[in-house]
Symmetry: C2
Subunit: 194 residues, 2 copies
DNA sequence: GCTCTACTAGAGTGATCGTTCTAGTCATTG
DNA sequence: CAATGACTAGAACGATCACTCTAGTAGAGC
């Protein structure tokens, strides 16, 4: 069985994906994790803020690793992109349209009210954009173009989650993925043309 | 002076843009609108849900009109897109990075917990996508391509809000706007080539 | 000038929020 | 075996939540 700290983390992650940051109470968290309140404040003395920051950081890192994994497995950058959006769409369908990513929701909820959490979400997005930028640069795409592409990719992914969840249909995510492939193809053309 | 109903609507809209749906209390709303609780329930007997749905619907319509306005004023579809993202970026900077759009946040907060609000957000996104699709079709872009482009545009916009607010910097929004212009140019090329 | 409806006004409801606190269990270490 | 630190356990706190309720004001229509 998972340790109490990990149970708290995964329970919070899932609750955030369903109800967001403000919509999730610590009572729900302790109930879902089968942990007493005392344990929560033992592992996260800073309370909800510290717990949330831990969820943002760890799940941000998990997604970055997942991205690298998919990128490694793909035949080329364009396929990596489609694969990633396809994977996200499948997760969405298989989980009754729970948000695949808690971070985007939290980011918008706390950006104006909680500076440390805002910075936490920013660090995660930046790490994703940096990871994707490196990949594209490795394919010969110039730094500027690679960065623009990576930023757009992350934005389109987060935006795709919004649309797909509102629609209760993963189609927008796949549609957006197709556009992202077009964008990557376009960028790769200028490289191979050299 | 604005009527009480309108004051409630605009106050709620702004509070949602700062703190989201679950982060906004009705006490904050009545205080900001300088309206008593009784008036809130007089105009919105359904309480917070009905008020929220009204905010979603009215501000969704406002944004659709704004899009049409900018599209009308622009020289061509590509410029319309850049203008729209530029306008969003400017609003963000001038409002201390308050969310330009309350709907995306609400959509993710309530998608799994409030069916009528989820449908409300879906209707708004669909109306935006339909409006953009019509524009692109009017330029000779085939329906399928136009729909894909419009969906990607809305997703990229919402995702751009997430990144820009997390970063407290409008740059990601402008960067994403540039990619969207590339995408529109790409689609227009196949049209004029005919 | 009376009546009726629209609206204002805010105190009060029970429920739930994040957090604190005290008490206790249990394995490890001297 | 005594003692220490890590962790469990949940009752209790004041604050705040969405919402209800009663009372009162004001303007329109007759």
């Amino acid at each position: 069985m998972m340790g109490t700290r990990d149970r708290l983390l995964t329970a919070t992650n899932e609750l955030f994906r369903r109800h967001g940051y403000n919509g999730t109470s610590l009572k729900q968290v302790t109930a879902a994790a089968a942990a007493p309140t005392g344990s929560l404040y033992h592992f996260f003395p800073g309370g909800k803020d510290e717990l949330t920051l831990a969820v943002i950081t760890t799940s941000g890192e998990t997604y970055r690793q997942l991205f690298e994994l998919i990128a490694d497995a793909a035949a080329d950058p364009a396929n990596a992109v489609t694969d990633f959006f396809e994977a996200a769409a499948t997760v969405l369908e298989e989980t009754d349209y729970i948000d695949p990513c808690p971070i985007g929701t939290i980011a918008r909820e706390v950006a104006s009210t909680n500076e440390s959490l805002r910075q936490g979400t920013d660090r995660v997005f930046t790490s994703w954009i940096d990871a994707a930028t490196s990949r594209f640069e490795g394919q010969g795409i110039p730094r500027d173009t690679a960065q623009q592409l990576a930023t757009t990719l992350v934005a389109a992914l987060e935006g795709g989650f919004v649309l797909a969840r509102a629609k209760r249909d993963a189609e927008p995510l796949r549609t957006v993925g197709r556009s992202m492939r077009d964008l990557v193809d376009q960028a790769m053309e200028t490289v191979t043309a050299k």
